[in-house]
Symmetry: C4
Subunit: 364 residues, 4 copies
């Protein structure tokens, strides 16, 4: 791949200290889920159950994988999901993810809990013409003014939207990570936090949790478009639309990492889409493991998807270069899948091309 050298050369994070957490513990944290991981497994299974029933002999003469989002057209319909502590996966951490994603037209949502300063990420890819969307995920540390300052800092660095995670007022350790003895080192870098990270008590977490009025306040003051991530209930989607509280929303159960037992996102996406009724774009994440899964989400009506664990695996295997290789595979697979489904564009995809319960009991 021609981009390989530049990907490595551009990477200041390579001087960072070595892996400070044992691999097994890091994997348990990065790849595990909450509780018994029922939601983690259900997320994947739900996409696999969905299938295709396309027409034949209707191949388009060309296909394109572009996607319109927040007023601009992007090369692909996917973004790297916001993920904390990626230095656990690779020393280049979020910078590797940014470079590898931009190289293949994929977007990126940088996490507040990243190990890389948002300015470094912005500087590396914000001016790349071929990249995907560049968004910043905001956790509400500190006071409202702190949030705003962070959003302004992201805007200055070239980020184009703020993603507000609304499904994780409580963050706790997972059984798998606990069993593996996972813990972050004392000097772990969190350069985007307005203040040093504290493991607050539950009481403190509850008092500082984000609420609808915070969203409304941010909506007024935030200099960037606002996207809510973590919507599952159609009533929440309806509320957000009716009160004009966001520019887009992401159907998400936080990859099964917060509350085990939440439904797979593939299962609730249709109801959310119905509630939104085309008023704003709806994205989705959770359990998407290949471009064909993404195509199913798009056929259901999602505008784009966020991808997490596959990128962690790629980062672990080879940093930016492997991330780019993965996205390239996805891009090719999406193009081929569109062709096999008789769709010239993503917008041509219809739910009618889906077949429910491929491996299930739907046949009679």
């Amino acid at each position: 791949m021609s981009g390989a050298t530049s990907l490595t050369a551009a990477n200041p994070a390579a001087q960072h200290p070595q892996q400070a957490v044992p691999h097994a513990a890091a994997d348990a944290y990065l790849l595990g889920g909450a509780g018994r991981e029922v939601t983690l497994r259900a997320n994947e299974a739900a996409w696999q159950r969905l299938g295709w029933l396309p027409r034949v002999l209707a191949t388009p003469t060309a296909v394109e994988t572009t996607c319109e989002l927040l007023g601009r057209r992007w090369p692909t319909p996917w973004l790297a999901a916001p993920m904390a502590h990626l230095r656990l996966a690779h020393p280049d951490a979020e910078l590797a993810l940014a470079l590898g994603s931009a190289a293949q037209g994929a977007g990126m949502v940088l996490s507040t809990q990243a190990n890389t300063p948002l300015e470094i990420v912005g500087q590396a890819i914000a001016h790349d013409q071929a990249r995907g969307p560049l968004w910043f995920q905001l956790y509400p540390y500190g006071q409202r003014d702190d949030w705003l300052r962070l959003a302004q800092r992201a805007q200055r660095a070239g980020f184009e939207a703020i993603v507000l995670t609304v499904d994780a007022p409580v963050q706790w350790s997972h059984p798998r990570a606990r069993a593996a003895g996972f813990a972050l080192p004392a000097d772990w870098p969190q350069p985007n936090l307005p203040a040093p990270a504290r493991h607050g008590s539950l009481d403190w977490l509850l008092q500082t949790a984000l609420r609808w009025d915070d969203v409304a306040w941010l909506r007024v003051h935030c200099p960037l478009p606002l996207i809510l991530k973590g919507i599952l209930h159609p009533d929440d989607a309806r509320l957000a639309c009716e009160r004009h509280l966001c520019d887009a929303l992401v159907v998400s159960n936080h990859g099964g990492r917060v509350l085990d037992g939440l439904p797979p996102t593939a299962a609730v996406l249709p109801a959310v889409l119905q509630a939104v009724a085309q008023r704003i774009p709806v994205l989705v994440d959770g359990g998407l493991r290949c471009a064909a899964d993404a195509a199913k989400a798009l056929a259901l009506g999602a505008r784009a998807v966020l991808v997490g664990r596959p990128l962690i695996q790629a980062l672990k295997q080879g940093g930016a270069e492997e991330v780019a290789r993965l996205w390239r595979l996805w891009r090719d697979e999406l193009a081929g899948t569109l062709a096999l489904l008789g769709s010239k564009t993503i917008a041509d995809l219809r739910a009618s091309v889906l077949y429910p319960h491929v491996n299930g009991s739907a046949e009679g």
Copy 2:
């Protein structure tokens, strides 16, 4: 944990003889179930299938895990289920369970078939202000007067209610225990039995089995509130309510230990609740393996839950201290779960926050 020393120091059972039954045989007895263990597995699976569909951005500013039961408010909504022969799990047996549970505000139901005199348990925790409910489970050995004397003895020792097990007129060995060669030593202590335990013939068991008129008699004469444990059929629940035969009931299939093939308690709880129609509190046990499972039972409408096998595992691992550690984890998990579900209290939990068949075929 600060309570560790006192937990050990207070423990007279530590001088008891060593484990007299091989570990594998003891485990087979303690953890196994009747028949092919279909009910044992179904109990666990039924809670896991149940999921959550909460609203977001509605976090309460504080949560509490307290529970009102028989006229008093308790720190947590759970009790250790009555379990026989706990010395098989740990030399401190029921005393360890009592101390570890009381230390974290959990209740306890002491079994007639315990290896520890009920007076020792009462003396250890009855006056603890932070403990949970303290109940005594009565097996109808001997004559009616024997039952009454035992109930009075329990009352004097500080127990607050009598739990009558109604689903085990026949007790038999399980295939797993049989295969492991499980047998109790001849001098096995059963200090709460009115007479030496006899392995009665089936005929004798049938003639001495508890019947509705026995319940009615006990209801009149028993000096303590009466709780029926082992109700599955809504008609039995209705009967108990209409004739005012008990102060509470426990939906239970005896942890899958008596009749294999009984439905999972999660499956029948809603129909029992409907039959009871709020007249008395309904508790449930069977297959609850974490606080989130308990929260599902509470959301369905159970007032509290009984917990068995997880405590046996904890006892085996570390006696009272490990029991306390387990209950502490449950308490924290319940608080966090309430917060994520947008519920300030257990009473705020509603069935509407549940999502059926997380890992199933409900999505379309």
Copy 3:
């Protein structure tokens, strides 16, 4: 067990030659099924899915396991199914099965393809007052007169009914037995066949296959009650009843040994019972692995059950004595199960005590 010595002493088959077929091959033949063994597995799974929802506090003061069949009351509601070539399991073969079954009040259906002369079996147990039913299973070798002579011979030896197997016009080797290299030795004893066994061509098998007019002819000429074994389709059951062609029928898929893909007997039993409408007794076999399974069949309305593979396992483990021990376990388990279900007798069992899909998705 007191009957142990006499069981061995009475056994002339003990002088028979040693196991002539390797154990693995014998097991593959005895325990395997046709095709992919879908029916073999489905038989077992269907009983396991069925569960119980009994009432409590309604224990009968005594239970009895007797069963009325063809005008006589028997100690238990089960018979050993007709099984070919039992010498593969134990040198005492069918004689061990007969003695062990009679010792615990279980019935027996001797196969035409037995390795023991029917007269030896009749002599050993026909006059036992405590035994169960003694029936002879007739395969239509040779001509109609040959069948009749065999039935008369069975009558003289003390057999009380003829069981006609109607579901196996074609018998073929199973993949599992084929893979294990199973073959019968040349001098294998088949003393009940009217002529030496021939592995007929398919054409020959088809021409000599039993048809409804053969049943009608036998019905007229056979000196004993006639029972059809292998009915699955309700229309066949209805036909047999309307034309008065038999005294009882057995719902059976031949234990999954003839045509893979036949439905589990538990699944079709209700429709057959409805078609028969109490005109004749209906028995069932297939996948019954414990007395609780049998109780489910009886609760559905079967009069009695036939049991196969568990007896082969018992024979292999210890001949007559182990067969008796198994039946004793079944008898005790049935008595206890009746008690737990609140049924004094088998006739008291009702389908209303059953709960469908214990481990399934019936709960909401």
Copy 4:
């Protein structure tokens, strides 16, 4: 088997060079499927779920396995599916498949991507009076005239129909084959291609993909009957019939090798049959692993079936001889299955003899 010697002797391909691709990589390519292989597994599972509920005592006096197709009666209702690169399985490749199939009356569809010149195959079996149908599968390499020349070449060699694969406009490497490092050697023989095989870009593949107007053109010019393979959607079947575009069609998802997530063919066959409404014969392939599976397809209404992977396994095990042995087993199993189902002929098979969900939850 008497045909063994001649099968080997007649085989010029035996002088071909040895296996040039490692076995594991060859297996991954030959036996693997697209994506996560959901469709590959679903194909097999769907046939296994289907079962039988036949009548008894209705055995025909003789059975026959013949099948009428395109105006001629054939010994069996099955053909070897078109499979590419069979030299990966055996040095005799397609010739072994042709000889072994013809020896047992099975048909064959030779692939454009075969390693054996179509003339060699035609010369070997076209004049065999006992063989099954001999068809040629056409991939649209080059221009329309190239296709026509290839069809004419096939006609001259004795092939009787052209099978047009319509479900694989895009062919890509499978994850399993990719992981195994599968690649064809540079000098790999593809003697039926009009031009050297090129791994075209996706753009090139899309532009040269077959479309309905190509089918219409071929329908007019092709000197042989035209069969469309790869139909799943009933609307495509209806279209093909209404416009008289083919003489038969094959319900196929390409054995799960092109687009993962396509429904199992057993699930969509009934809807396609209904759309076709007897106007042309409908064949089916995918997941058929034994003659009983084929019988289920025939009972649903398919005229014949195509078989793939079982033949690859047979080729690998023993070339032509093993292929013949497999087909012989299938023939015997089909005859026996017909007999057990009470059907004299394939045409007598009715869907009413099928039982849905043998191992499923259909029983109540």
